[in-house]
C-alpha cells in the first residue's frame, strides 16, 4: 500500500520534472528537429508550416530570385491586422466620436500614435510590396506551367489591398475621409454619365443605385461610416484572408516557386553556400546504405551526395530565412512609424472641400485620369487595366524560359525600350494636356460623349495596347508582349502618380513645386 503510494508520488515528481520534454514532444510529435527525419516531420506536422513543403528548392531560397516581396507583403498584412486590432480598441465608428477617438489614439493613448502609424504604413506598404511582388513574378516569367490561376488570385489580392486602404482612410472622419466618401460615391455613380447620354437613366439609374448602396443614403453620414467600418474591419479582411490562403495553397499545388530549366549549372556557383545541406548520416540515411537499380532514366549519374532535385530541408533553411525577413520587416515598419506620422486632417466639414482635395499618393494617378473624365478615368480604364493584367498568363502561353529574369537579355532590352518610350510619350502627352487643355477648353459646348470616347487616358490606353502588340509582332514572342504591357503599366502608374502627387496644386492646376502654390 505505502509502496504503491510512494511510487505514485515518485511518478508524479518525474512527470513534473519531465514537463519540458513531454510538452515539447506532444507539440512536435516527432521530437526535436535533430535529424533530417524529425526536421521534415516538424514542417509536415505543424498546422501553420505544413502549407509549405518539407523540402524547398535551393532556387526558392535565393534572395536575388524572389527578393522576398510576396513574403514581405504577407508580413505587412499580419502587422496591419495586429496593429489594426489595437487601434480598434479605442476607435469609435460614429460621426460624433470617430475624429475625437482618433485624436485620442494619437495624443492620449500610450503608444497609440505609434500603433496608428504602424497600421497606416504597413497597410500602404502592402500596396508597394504587392506591386513589387507582382513585378517579380512577371519579370521572372513565373505565371506559367499551372500558375496561371494563381496569378488571377494575385490580381484579386491587389484589388483588395487597394480597397482596404481606401476604406481605411475613410474612417477617421477628417476632411480626407469625408471628401473621399463624396468623391468615391460619385465615382461609383459615374456610369450615370453614360446612361444619361443613352437616355437610360430614367429607366434604370445604375449609378444612382450603386451610390445609395455604398453610402446607405444620398450623402455621406452616420450610416455610411457604419457601412465602411464594417467593410474595413470585417468583410474585406475575411475575404482577403481567404484569398491569401488560397494563394499560398495554390503555390504548393502548382509545384512551388518557378525554377529555371537549366538550374543545376547555375546553382552550384551562387547558392551552394547559402543553405545547410542535409546530413546524410542519420535517420533514414545510414552510412552503409546500399543502392539498387530501380529504373532506367534520363540524365547523368544519380546524386547520392545531396538531396533530390536540388532541394534542401525547409527546416531550418526556409524557416530561418522567413523568420529573419519578419523581424526585419517589423523593425522597418516600427522605425519608419517612429519618424513619420500618419496624416490626420481637420475634422470633416461638409461645406468646404480642401483645395486641392487629394487622395493618398497611391490613388493620385487615378485622380489625374479622373480629371479628364470621371467615368473613363475611374471606372473603365482601371477595369480594363486590371482585366489586361489578369489575362497576361492566358494571352502569353509561351512556356519557355520560365524562372529566368526577363526571360534573358531580349526581355531586358524590351523592358528598357518600353521604359524609355513609355516615359517619353506619356510625359509628352501630359505636357500637351497641361499646356493646351482638352476638348472642353477648345469647344465648351461639345457633347460629353466625345470626351468620354476621346480623352488623354483613353488615348494612352490605346497607345499601350498598340505598343504591346507591335512588340509581339516585331519580336515574334508573346512573352515580350507581356513584358512590354506590364512595363507600360508600371511606367503609367509611376508617372501619373508623380504628376498627381507633386505637380498638381489648388484647383488641380499644374505647378512645378508646392512652393509655387498660391497663398489664400
Amino acid at each position: 500500500m505505502s509502496e504503491s503510494l510512494k511510487s505514485g508520488i515518485e511518478q508524479f515528481k518525474d512527470n513534473i520534472f519531465g514537463l519540458k520534454d513531454s510538452l515539447t514532444k506532444s507539440y512536435l510529435r516527432a521530437g526535436k528537429p535533430t535529424s533530417d527525419m524529425s526536421r521534415a516531420a516538424l514542417m509536415v506536422n505543424n498546422f501553420f508550416l505544413h502549407i509549405q513543403g518539407a523540402k524547398t528548392h535551393i532556387n526558392t531560397l535565393r534572395p536575388a530570385y524572389t527578393l522576398g516581396m510576396g513574403l514581405i507583403a504577407f508580413y505587412l498584412f499580419i502587422i496591419t491586422c495586429v496593429s489594426g486590432a489595437l487601434v480598434m480598441i479605442f476607435y469609435n465608428p460614429s460621426i460624433e466620436h470617430a475624429y475625437s477617438t482618433v485624436k485620442d489614439i494619437n495624443y492620449v493613448v500610450f503608444a497609440g500614435r505609434l500603433m496608428r502609424n504602424v497600421h497606416k504604413w504597413s497597410g500602404e506598404g502592402m500596396i508597394v510590396f504587392v506591386l513589387l511582388h507582382m513585378a517579380r513574378v512577371l519579370y521572372t516569367n513565373s505565371y506559367k506551367r499551372g500558375r496561371e490561376f494563381n496569378w488571377l488570385i494575385g490580381i484579386v489580392l491587389l484589388v483588395l489591398t487597394f480597397v482596404l486602404n481606401l476604406t481605411g482612410y475613410m474612417l477617421p472622419w477628417d476632411q480626407l475621409s469625408y471628401w473621399a466618401l463624396v468623391i468615391v460615391s460619385n465615382i461609383i455613380q459615374s456610369p450615370k454619365e453614360l446612361t444619361d447620354i443613352l437616355g437610360l437613366t430614367k429607366f434604370v439609374d445604375i449609378g444612382g443605385i450603386q451610390k445609395e448602396f455604398f453610402l446607405a443614403g444620398t450623402v455621406p453620414g452616420a450610416a455610411t461610416l457604419n457601412r465602411v467600418y464594417f467593410l474595413h474591419i470585417m468583410l474585406l479582411p475575411i475575404i482577403i484572408t481567404t484569398f491569401i490562403g488560397v494563394h499560398f495553397w495554390r503555390i504548393r499545388k502548382d509545384g512551388g516557386l518557378t525554377v529555371p530549366d537549366n538550374f543545376n549549372s547555375s546553382c552550384n556557383v551562387d547558392c551552394g553556400n547559402l543553405v545547410v545541406l542535409p546530413k546524410k548520416t542519420g535517420g533514414i540515411f545510414t552510412t552503409n546504405k546500399t543502392y539498387g537499380l530501380m529504373t532506367m532514366s534520363k540524365g547523368v549519374t544519380p546524386a547520392v551526395d545531396r538531396d533530390v532535385e536540388n532541394t534542401v530541408l525547409s527546416w531550418p533553411n526556409l524557416a530561418i530565412a522567413e523568420a529573419a525577413v519578419f523581424v526585419l520587416c517589423l523593425a522597418a515598419v516600427i522605425v519608419y512609424s517612429i519618424f513619420v506620422d500618419a496624416p490626420l486632417k481637420e475634422a470633416a466639414n461638409a461645406l468646404i472641400p480642401e483645395n486641392p482635395a487629394k487622395a493618398p499618393w497611391y490613388f493620385l494617378g487615378l485622380q489625374e485620369m479622373v480629371s479628364y473624365s470621371a467615368f473613363m478615368g475611374s471606372i473603365v480604364i482601371p477595369m480594363l487595366s486590371v482585366l489586361g493584367l489578369a489575362l497576361i498568363p492566358y494571352l502569353d502561353r509561351d512556356q519557355s524560359d520560365v524562372g529566368i529574369w526577363f526571360s534573358g537579355s531580349a526581355g531586358k532590352k524590351v523592358a528598357i525600350k518600353t521604359l524609355i518610350v513609355g516615359s517619353v510619350c506619356l510625359i509628352g502627352m501630359l505636357a500637351f494636356v497641361v499646356n493646351f487643355g482638352w476638348f472642353r477648353n477648345w469647344w465648351p459646348s461639345i457633347a460629353q460623349i466625345w470626351i468620354i470616347l476621346i480623352n488623354p487616358a483613353n488615348l494612352w490606353l490605346l497607345f499601350v495596347c498598340a505598343w504591346s502588340i507591335w512588340i509581339i509582332k516585331s519580336t515574334g514572342s508573346t512573352r515580350m508582349g507581356a513584358i512590354a504591357l506590364f512595363t507600360m503599366f508600371l511606367v503609367s502608374y509611376l508617372i501619373l502618380t508623380y504628376v498627381g502627387t507633386e505637380l498638381r496644386g489648388p484647383n488641380w492646376e499644374f505647378f512645378w513645386s508646392k512652393a509655387q502654390w498660391p497663398i489664400h
Partner: protein, 155 residues
C-alpha cells in the same frame, strides 16, 4: 435503360434533377436578392432637399448669395430669381465663385456665370434648381428638382 443514340426526350429522373437544380438556383437567388435589398433602408435620416430661403424682399435685384448649408447659390436680377447648385457635376465637390463663374477645387472643373461648363472634366452644367413661393410668403428651393438653365422665377 434508354437506347443509345437516337433518344432525345428527357427521362423522368433527368427532368426531376434539372427541375430541382433550377428551383434551388431560383430560391438561392431570391435569398441573395432579399439580402441585397436589405442594405437599402426605407428611410434616410437626411436633410430635406426642399428648403425655405426667406422672403422675396430679401433678394433685391443684384443679390448674389451662397447658402453654404444648402449648397446652392441664389442670384437675383431684374428679370427674376434663380438658384444654381454649388455641387460640382463631376464628382460632387463644392464649387467656389470666381470673377468669371465657378471653379471646382477637386479636379479643376470650370463653369461660366450661369453654370455652363467651360473647362475641366465636369460632364454637364451646374443644375438650376426649382424655386417656388410657399403660401406663407417664403421662397422655397427644391434641390431635387432641376429646371432648364435660364428659367427665372418672377416675383
Amino acid at each position: 435503360m434508354s437506347s443509345t443514340g437516337e433518344k432525345t426526350e428527357i427521362g423522368r429522373r433527368d427532368f426531376l434533377g434539372v427541375s430541382a437544380i433550377v428551383a434551388g438556383a431560383i430560391a438561392m437567388l431570391s435569398v441573395v436578392a432579399g439580402a441585397l435589398r436589405l442594405t437599402k433602408s426605407n428611410v434616410y435620416y437626411e436633410q430635406s432637399q426642399k428648403f425655405k430661403i426667406g422672403r422675396p424682399e430679401n433678394f433685391p435685384a443684384g443679390t448674389k448669395v451662397k447658402l453654404d448649408e444648402k449648397k446652392v447659390f441664389i442670384f437675383s436680377e431684374n428679370s427674376g430669381l434663380y438658384a444654381i447648385s454649388s455641387i460640382c457635376t463631376h464628382l460632387g465637390c463644392i464649387v467656389s465663385q470666381t470673377d468669371s463663374g465657378f471653379l471646382c477645387p477637386c479636379h479643376g472643373s470650370r463653369y461660366d456665370g450661369i453654370g455652363n461648363v467651360v473647362g475641366g472634366p465636369a460632364p454637364r452644367a451646374l443644375p438650376w434648381l426649382e424655386i417656388s413661393l410657399h403660401e406663407d410668403g417664403n421662397l422655397v428651393v427644391d434641390a431635387s428638382k432641376e429646371v432648364k438653365s435660364g428659367t427665372m422665377f418672377l416675383i
